[in-house]
């Protein structure tokens, strides 16, 4: 009985320490973002980076992820892929979806880490399952091609669709293509045109598709336009 009470007391103490630590790191991250925001009027890279590093050192996944992005070359830093992989691995170990995706890409390209396509696909897949739309796109492509993961055009197509519905413009272009050519989905020129309209609207035009879809009937074109106009991107968590 006494032992249990002691354990409980210890547990409470441990919780409050980590809560306090967390708050300080959170504040550091928040301030770092202000110093690193060129539009904030308080831009100061050195200060921002230093605060960010402190928050990352105390274990905040979001700060570790941001340190990873700095090491990848954000703010015109010379890229240091080894350092980037190190920070991203730390954030990724805490389940940070953005970090899982970026680290996966490093494994895919063999930068800062030994090239490992299987590990890359696993990391990018984890991030995709968490709703990171860039990861959904990359994972869709990996599954579609069978890189680091079992090839499956149908499943790959569904991942591309998930990313496209989140408003990812590159994914919208890919989805337009798979519907146009019937890869992993049943050929559907109207759906192809609808996604092509959305991708074009987002700045990703595709002359080959434009030519191909020009032969649709006026009714089909109107339906594609109607679907595109009705499109609302699914919220990204």
């Amino acid at each position: 009985m006494k032992l249990a009470a002691t354990a409980l007391a210890l547990l409470i103490a441990a919780t409050s320490i980590s809560a306090a630590g967390q708050t300080e790191a959170d504040t550091q991250l928040k301030e770092a973002r202000i110093y690193l925001d060129k539009a904030s009027g308080r831009y100061d890279y050195a200060k921002g980076e230093s605060l960010l590093r402190q928050a990352a050192d105390s274990g905040l996944a979001e700060a570790q992820f941001s340190m990873g992005l700095l090491s990848l070359g954000a703010f015109d830093n010379p890229p240091n892929f080894v350092a980037a992989a190190d920070w991203l691995a730390k954030a990724s170990a805490q389940g940070h979806a953005g970090a899982e995706h970026e680290l996966g890409v490093l494994y895919l390209e063999g930068r800062g880490v030994g090239k490992d396509v299987v590990k890359a696909a696993a990391l990018i897949g984890q991030a995709a399952e968490k709703g990171n739309s860039d990861a959904m796109l990359d994972y869709g492509v990996l599954v579609f091609r069978g890189e680091g993961v079992k090839q499956d055009e149908k499943i790959g197509a569904q991942w591309l669709l998930l990313a496209a519905r989140r408003g990812n413009v590159i994914a919208q272009n890919r989805v337009a293509r798979i519907y146009a050519f019937g890869k992993g989905v049943t050929v559907d020129p109207v759906e192809a045109m609808s996604w092509n309209i959305l991708a074009t609207r987002g700045g990703r035009s595709d002359p080959e598709l434009d030519t191909m879809l020009a032969s649709l009937t006026a009714d089909q074109k109107a339906e594609a336009q109607r679907r595109a106009d009705a499109f609302k991107p699914v919220a990204t968590p």
């Binding site: 897949g125 995709a128 399952e129 968490k130 709703g131 994972y139 599954v143 079992k150 499956d152 149908k154 499943i155 569904q158 991942w159 998930l162 519905r165 989140r166 699914v234 919220a235 990204t236 968590p237």
Partner: protein
């Protein structure tokens, strides 16, 4: 839990609502299967294809990823049900459906990916039925039912007694409109 109490709870549940199936561990499958089937409940064993065959159960449920689904599908044949628990993984669910799963069980409380909760997404994607496998009480149905799961799983508290089972299934059934 003793098989007798399990059966009492099951009988009470069947009297209170539309009970489709019962998932049981291998250890009690033999004892419970004939009686459950007499109540019109499909018995699914959390085990291997041979476990279902041995006790005459209606099917099995496996975890996606950890098992060879295609082999299980083949071993079960067409008469028996293959259910696959995919957690909150869309990828594993799609793979399981391609491997011939008859239903997919989801942890519907995983990442919702913004406006696309996993059950709603699945229902728009495919005809393969799905179970919202994380236990849901009447209060949780508000968010769950609009996603249109084919089956839901009552909270485990229903197995405490026949009365608990009756009350829980009746409360859920009322919300389901059955």
């Amino acid at each position: 839990m003793p098989a007798a109490r399990l059966l009492d709870c099951l009988k009470a549940a069947c009297g209170a609502g539309d009970v489709a199936s019962l998932l049981v561990p291998v250890a009690v499958a033999g004892e419970i299967t004939p009686a459950a089937q007499q109540l019109g409940v499909a018995v699914i064993v959390a085990g291997e294809p041979r476990d279902a065959a041995r006790c005459g159960a209606d099917g099995i449920q496996l975890d996606a990823g950890s098992e060879d689904l295609a082999a299980a599908r083949q071993a079960l044949g067409k008469e028996r049900i293959l259910g696959v628990f995919a957690g909150s993984s869309r990828h594993l669910a799609m793979e399981a459906a391609e491997a011939g799963a008859d239903y997919i069980a989801f942890d519907q409380t995983g990442p919702a990916l913004g406006g696309e909760p996993i059950v709603a997404w699945w229902q728009a994607l495919t005809e393969v039925p799905c179970v919202a496998f994380t236990p849901a009480g009447p209060d949780e149905l508000d968010t769950l039912l609009p996603q249109r799961p084919d089956f839901i799983r009552p909270p485990d508290a229903m197995w405490q007694s026949a009365e608990d089972a009756r009350r829980m299934v009746a409360a859920l059934s009322q919300r389901l409109g059955s």
